[in-house]
């Protein structure tokens, strides 16, 4: 293998954005033919930037790229295609109203004599060869996320790609779909293709790759054979220090009922049911996980509780105020009404800078977002939020030049610390967090898990919407699984397996539901 010319060689690649952010620094690495290389690194370590240079989206500041031993200058995605390099991005670039065949044909300058039929046949050939499952006549808007991804790969192969780059391909897939993808990737590898998977999920790295290349803060740290690696060794290389990987899950004996959701039905903006007759209870001293494929109604569920989403008739969400001994209905109340009622509800929304924080404001001004109405009638109280900002900055180790630097200039992890810090500071009885660790580095993720656990120990009911099933199973006491807006079961986080949750996410089993009822 070592004597073979690498399919792609990168030598001393450096790329900077502006004068301060160096995304890649002097990266040199090789990708062989017939190899699956996992490009591993934390968020912000420069994996995607590096691959974007290979696929012609960015241009390196310095350094040289060789393809099959020849120096090349890739200045556009078209150049990359001509060299047989294809990238499958996290956000698919497909036309919704076109069929699979039309999408493959789109933007292609290859001359065909047989038109659509010929392309359909070529697609069928590719599918047979690698084991894809795709209907050439299906419209993209009817496809599942997994089918769209398959189509992207087929499209790239049809254009003659020998080197495939997949950016976080499993982020949107269920465990079962991931297995299917991996089988296809292995077939492609056997056919001599080079495959680069960008990822930060270690279990998948171990399952699929031959070799792992690790980036940290834009620099190439080294590569290891997958057979010689373990989750712990890879994490340590990725982070650069020893990391404790266990998530704590204390059992709290006293679990009072704090929030009851019953028969909750909500419509999305198109008038389609986003949530369909969902009922569950949330208890203090417990983390309730919400699992489901993205877009299964998680957003509407949390927003309905927070007073941001209208619910249909018959829905009810009651908050049990233990101190007052009262039960209060939250449906039909606005955010400020819920606040005035004294419901201690905190919400860490999915869209941090688009909803949870004001990007152009500093930490200090963001601290008063949920409490600015307190105090004098005309002017805002500046001191309390400033003190809180200083406290959050110190306790959660937020890295920011100062508390007035616009938060959008902070890294994703620090933005999340600001948001979570503020929401926790109000001493919530119910804390909701949506995708709280998305895009965060490992250390920050564990900080967030620790903070959620602290709230749980204080007796709060924590509702945690997550996408990483490994984490949900390790962190949550119970997991409610949504499937297409319906609640498909609540399972015990201590005994359930990932596969069981994966099945609940994708298949509604009516007979089972009736048994439970």
């Amino acid at each position: 293998m070592d004597k073979q010319t690498p399919a792609v060689s990168l030598r001393h690649i450096t790329k900077a954005f502006g004068s301060k952010v160096v995304a890649n620094k002097d990266v040199s690495m090789d990708i062989m033919r017939g190899e699956i290389l996992a490009l591993l690194g934390e968020n912000g370590s420069g994996k995607t930037t590096l691959m974007n240079m290979l696929s012609g989206i960015y241009r390196q500041d310095s350094g040289v790229i060789y393809v099959d031993g020849n120096e090349v200058h890739i200045t556009s995605p078209k150049d990359a295609f001509d060299l047989g390099i294809g990238m499958i991005h996290q956000h698919f670039k497909l036309v919704d109203v076109f069929t699979a065949t039309e999408n493959v044909a789109l933007g292609m300058d290859k001359k065909t004599t047989g038109g659509a039929k010929e392309i359909a046949k070529a697609i069928a050939d590719i599918c047979d060869r690698y084991g894809f499952d795709i209907d050439p006549k299906q419209k993209v808007y009817n496809m599942t996320v997994s089918q769209k991804q398959t189509l992207e790969i087929v499209k790239t192969l049809y254009r003659g790609a020998n080197i495939l780059i997949l950016d976080e391909p499993t982020a949107v897939l269920t465990p079962q779909e991931t297995d299917k993808l991996f089988a296809v990737l292995r077939n492609m590898k056997a056919d001599g293709k080079s495959i680069i998977i960008i990822t930060h999920k270690l279990n998948e790295v171990l399952a699929i790759s031959d070799r792992v290349a690790i980036l940290r803060k834009g620099e190439f740290i080294g590569d290891v054979k997958t057979s010689e690696a373990s989750v712990q060794s890879l994490t340590d290389m990725m982070v650069g220090a020893k990391v404790e990987l266990d998530i704590e899950r204390p059992l709290i004996e006293d679990r009072p009922l704090l929030l009851s959701v019953s028969h909750l039905t909500c419509l999305d903006k198109y008038g389609v049911k986003a949530l369909d007759d969902v009922s569950f209870d949330a208890y203090g001293g417990e983390i309730l996980g919400i699992a489901g494929i993205s877009g299964s109604g998680q957003k509407q569920l949390l927003e309905a509780i927070a007073g941001l989403q209208k619910a249909e008739a018959g829905s009810s969400i009651t908050y049990n105020d233990i101190e007052k001994g009262e039960t209060e209905e939250l449906i039909g109340k606005s955010v400020s009404e819920i606040k005035k009622m004294g419901v201690a509800l905190s919400f860490v929304p999915e869209d941090r800078l688009g909803m949870g924080l004001v990007g152009t404001m500093g930490m200090s001004d963001n601290m008063m977002l949920r409490s600015y109405q307190k105090g004098s009638i005309i002017f805002t109280d500046r001191k309390t939020p400033r003190d809180l900002a200083t406290k959050v900055k110190e306790e959660l180790e937020v890295v920011t030049p100062n508390i007035n630097t616009p938060v959008r200039k902070l890294s994703g992890g620090n933005v999340q610390k600001v948001l979570v810090g503020r929401e926790i500071a109000s001493d919530p009885k119910v804390l909701m967090a949506a995708y709280a660790v998305r895009g965060l580095d490992i250390n920050t993720s564990y900080t967030i898990y620790r903070l959620l656990n602290e709230q749980k120990k204080k007796g709060s009911a924590v509702i945690y919407v997550g996408e990483d099933l490994d984490v949900l199973i390790a962190l949550c006491d119970r997991i409610a699984v949504l499937c297409g807006g319906k609640l498909n079961g609540i399972v015990d986080g201590r005994t359930v397996t990932k596969e069981e949750v994966g099945l609940l996410m994708t298949h509604i089993d009516d007979s089972k539901k009736e048994d439970e009822a």
Partner: protein
Amino acid sequence: MATITKSTGKEPLFHIVRRTDMPIWKSWLIRILSVLASLIVCAVIIVLVTGDNPIQIYATMFKGSFGSPRRFWALLQGIAMLLCVSLALTPAFKMRFWNIGGEGQVLMGGLGATACMILFGNKLPAPVVLLLVIVVSILCGAIWGLIPAVFKAFWNTNETLFTLMMNYIAIQIVSYFTYIWSSNKGNNVINTINNDTHAGWLELPSSVDKYGYMLNVLIVAALTIMMYFYLKYSKQGYEISVVGESENTAKYAGINVKKVIIRTMIISGALCGVAGMLLVSGTDHTINPDTAGGRGFTAIMVSWLAKFNPLFMVVTSLLIVFMQKGAIEISTQFGLNSSFSDIITGIIIFFIIGSEFFINYKIQKRAKEVEA
């Protein structure tokens, strides 16, 4: 072994990189340099067209603003009026509500003042007329701002088009009334209103204020400081910033977005109404469809260049008014027609706006020659 048959070209010669960390003094240095550069370009054009000495021309330009006490006060008045409209537009802009309707709101305010002065001038005591002038002109401006705000808040109409169209309606309404109230039937000119009684005139005694501009300047100075504190330290100012950044964030924070949009546009329109009142009741004592003089549009630039900071707006409006007055002075002194002053103003403004590119981006040359 496979070989690459296709060469994929050279690295591009330039690429544009976003700057993130320019110190404030440096950004202002660039702005000042751009003004100087624009003056050089204008000088070249002046020399080419007229053959005159550019230094002499710039001296003339300076004279246009500082040549006499009257001119100096006229400069201050010009700044005050432009600044007043800019202050009015700023809260709307901070809310990302693109109020292009300053022109119309100013005119409606001015029309309100005119109407009170003409209709009640001889019927009510002068102080009452003045009070009516103030209240009615503010109301008229506020209503002209309120209408697009209501449509935006409840039906999400496009406020840019809406406010723009409201300008034309206002201009036509004013045209109509200049015809109705014209001093000599049919000539569409309203002579100075209440010249004998001064009813509804906003003025200081001429012993204090020789040129009649001082009160306007003082009022706008006070408004500038109030607007600065309103935007920066008040709860309503905070709400405006949050709504401008993201409606979702505002809803999340429990802010009533509709209410904030409507309230802010009432303030914006009302302040435009004040500007209209200052023009009609404070200085002109008459109205015509050109009373706003394009300030509703120029103010957009003043507000943007100052990054919506009322204190910086004093500087940006000074710059623009100074340039305009200087350009007019050049045109008259050197016997060029008025289009020439527009050309010069245009060049200068182009440079000022263009300088923002160099503040936000830098151009990087290719590091080294790459063999193809």
